[in-house]
């Protein structure tokens, strides 16, 4: 028995299999689709096959790329503005989430140990309701004859309803509301591991609690801040549902444009080009994050 066991142990590449499965998954469902999108973005039509893009001259294959979509992308200011405004709203969302989430996570990590699991569950509680439903709920809260305006008017605070819906305000409320848990969770994980002795050491050396926060707590939780910001910023750039439901004409976001290109204009190469540029936009912060993480790992070893 042990012989068979040892044989299997030595001959089945179990570690490779365990690591390999997720990689295979990503290859099939992420890398290949992205390559397909890339291919479509450089063809004239969605149906252009790869073989027709390759022409043979003197026995050497030459791939003919069609950059028309990209050229159009860079000439029409609409796209540039949309990217910019996507980044803008994603950035504002991230900053607001950080401003709300950091103190939240901080006090959660400092609260009595027996309360923490419950506080953590409350953060995740919204996930039990459908995302779409929750965004719709905001809509009923913020429309002109919605709950907020009605309450304010009945209290006599305002005479006319405030126009909140379909403005940058309503968009940001929805975005911050939806992405806040993604900011809080990594920050909480990081801050709950923060060694209290560092804070004591700072106090011991004459640093007031307020300055200790800026000089010790914040730098030591940098990894959590970056992780949380990435988790908010990256999906926020490509967000489609929230701008569609809560946004307005002046809250252009790239997800919306992408949808229009695919389904209204049916211009797949163009839509693919928009998607490819968006992926590049997201890869940049990811690369920075990875660089930071590997630096950290290096520093620890």
């Amino acid at each position: 028995m042990t012989n068979i066991y040892n044989y299997l142990r030595n001959h089945i590449p179990s570690r490779q299999i365990v690591i390999g499965v997720p990689y295979l998954w990503f290859l099939l469902l992420a890398a290949i689709p992205i390559l397909i999108v890339l291919k479509i973005s450089m063809s004239e039509m969605e149906s252009t096959s790869v073989s027709s893009m390759i022409s043979w001259t003197q026995g050497w294959p030459t791939i003919k790329f069609n950059f028309a979509s990209y050229i159009f992308l860079s000439t029409d200011p609409l796209y540039f503005e949309t990217y910019l405004s996507s980044i803008k709203y994603a950035l504002i969302t991230t900053v607001i989430c950080l401003a709300i989430g950091y103190p939240f996570a901080y006090f959660m990590a400092r609260s009595p140990k027996h309360l923490q699991p419950m506080l953590l569950m409350l953060i995740m509680l919204p996930f039990w309701t459908s995302f779409l439903l929750r965004i719709y709920a905001w809509k009923t809260l913020m429309v002109n004859n919605g709950v907020i305006n009605n309450v304010l008017m009945s209290l006599g605070v305002i005479d006319d309803p405030i126009a909140m819906m379909n403005t940058p305000f309503s968009l940001l409320v929805g975005m911050v509301y939806s992405y806040l848990p993604f900011m809080i969770l990594p920050l909480y994980a990081n801050l709950s591991k923060l060694d209290i002795r560092f804070l004591e050491a700072a106090a011991d050396l004459g640093t007031s609690p307020f300055r200790t926060f800026w000089l010790v707590t914040i730098p030591l939780s940098k990894a959590g801040i970056i992780a949380g910001s990435m988790l908010v910023f990256i999906p926020a750039i490509g967000e489609y549902v929230i701008p569609e439901l809560l946004g307005g004409p002046d809250t252009l976001m790239i997800g919306r444009v992408l949808w229009d290109e695919f389904f209204s204009n049916n211009d797949w190469p163009m839509a693919s080009a928009v998607a490819v540029v968006m992926i590049l936009l997201i890869l940049l912060p990811m690369a920075i994050f990875n660089k930071y993480q590997s630096d950290q790992a290096e520093a620890k070893s």
């Binding site: 060694d195 002795r197 560092f198 004591e200 050491a201 700072a202 106090a203 011991d204 050396l205 004459g206 640093t207 007031s208 609690p209 300055r211 200790t212 000089l215 010790v216 730098p219 030591l220 940098k222 520093a299 620890k300």
Partner: protein
């Protein structure tokens, strides 16, 4: 007295031999956790300027809680703390002129060695140049000039310990607290560092309160030791006082090895006392007295016992037994002797020649004897 003081202050540069001046005074300090657990129970102590005072005790004896109250991390439930005559009981940690070297150092991992040492200085209104100068002098004090740019994790344990020391000394605190200063180092390095640490502390001339569970550390470093148990001081004294004149079985047992015999005072004369134990008759020649018939403990350190194969001629201060265990330490050997009563005592023989001197081996019948000054009589 006041006239002397005026003459003295008229020539401030003169080096004066002063009576020890009180720096720290703790009055009846108590810390109660969760309403009932007394971590520190009504402790009072004074520490003189320049002293190295050790709080020694096992885990959970309250020594760390006491230290944390001095640092300002814990608020005493009762009692007062005075530093140089000023009540600092309610002063928050960051306003106390006290610095602490933390157990396992708590060096800021995101800052270089230089920045770690400068951290406390930047909080004061100190000129940039002065900060640099102070940091440099601290670095050379702990011989780490070459490591200024390194991060703490790039240093060895001993180097980290020195950075921690430099950081806690940089602000020139009135009082330095050391929490298990050498606990994270291995034995060989610890012995070397102990002396280094004391030398640096003496060079700077800072007053120290140190917490340790390691009696050797307390003995070698401190000028006075407080042995703690269950939140109270059991004995306070110089290292040799605590070792040679323990005031209770607990202290005798905690500091070093000890054999304790239970006996009854049989004779109380002006120059001696005899104590009858099951195993032997003790003749104590130093100045103690007690009532005849009083039951006492006789504490005898293993190194004060001499072993031989021949029965001593005296009627006092010896007992016989079988060698049941021999533990060789290199510099000395400890013999475990099983007495006829069944009690096992330890005797330590110095290996001052290269052949194992007294030639005893397992199963031998041996006689342990000691002189009439060797033992301590304990009433508790």
């Amino acid at each position: 007295m006041s006239t002397t003081a005026t003459t003295d202050s008229a020539k401030p540069s003169a080096i004066r031999k002063m009576a020890p001046q009180e720096l720290l005074r703790v009055e009846g300090i108590t810390k109660v956790y969760d309403g009932s657990v007394k971590a520190v129970d009504n402790i009072s102590l004074t520490v003189a300027t320049g002293e190295i005072f050790a709080l020694l005790g096992g885990s959970g004896c309250g020594k760390s809680t006491l230290l944390r109250m001095l640092a300002g991390f814990e608020k005493p439930t009762n009692g007062k703390i005075f530093l140089a005559g000023k009540d600092i009981t309610d002063l928050p940690a960051y306003k106390r002129p006290i610095n602490m070297m933390f157990q396992s150092y708590a060096l800021f991992p995101h800052l270089s060695v230089w920045e770690n040492i400068a951290f406390g200085l930047r909080r004061d209104d100190m000129a940039k140049g002065d900060i640099a100068e102070r940091v440099e002098s601290m670095l050379s004090l702990v011989q780490l000039d070459k490591f200024a740019k390194r991060k703490p994790h790039q240093l060895s344990g001993g180097q980290q310990q020195r950075v921690a020391l430099a950081r806690s000394l940089a602000k020139r605190p009135k009082l330095l607290l050391l929490d298990e200063p050498l606990g994270a180092l291995d034995k060989k390095l610890r012995e070397k560092t102990q002396l280094e640490l004391v030398n640096i502390i003496e060079e700077v001339g800072v007053t120290c309160v140190l917490v340790t569970h390691d009696q050797e550390e307390a003995m070698t470093m401190a000028s006075r030791i407080a042995v703690m148990s269950e939140g109270s001081f059991m004995q306070v004294g110089s290292p040799d006082e605590v070792y040679e004149m323990p005031n209770s079985r607990q202290v005798a047992d905690f500091i070093g090895n000890v054999n304790i015999f239970d006996g009854i005072i049989e004779e109380d004369e002006s120059d001696h006392v005899t104590i009858r134990c099951e195993e032997c008759l003790h003749y104590v020649g130093h100045g103690i007295s007690g009532n005849v018939g009083m039951s006492v403990g006789v504490a005898l350190r293993p190194e004060k016992i001499t072993l031989s194969k021949e029965q001593p001629q005296s009627e006092y201060n010896w007992c016989a037994g079988e060698v049941v265990e021999i533990v060789y330490f290199g510099a000395h050997t400890t013999y475990h002797l099983k007495l006829d009563s069944g009690k096992v005592i330890k005797a330590q023989e110095l290996n001052n020649t290269r052949d194992l001197s007294c030639g005893l081996t397992w199963g031998d019948r041996a006689y342990a004897h000691w002189n009439d000054m060797a033992m301590v009589v304990l009433t508790y």
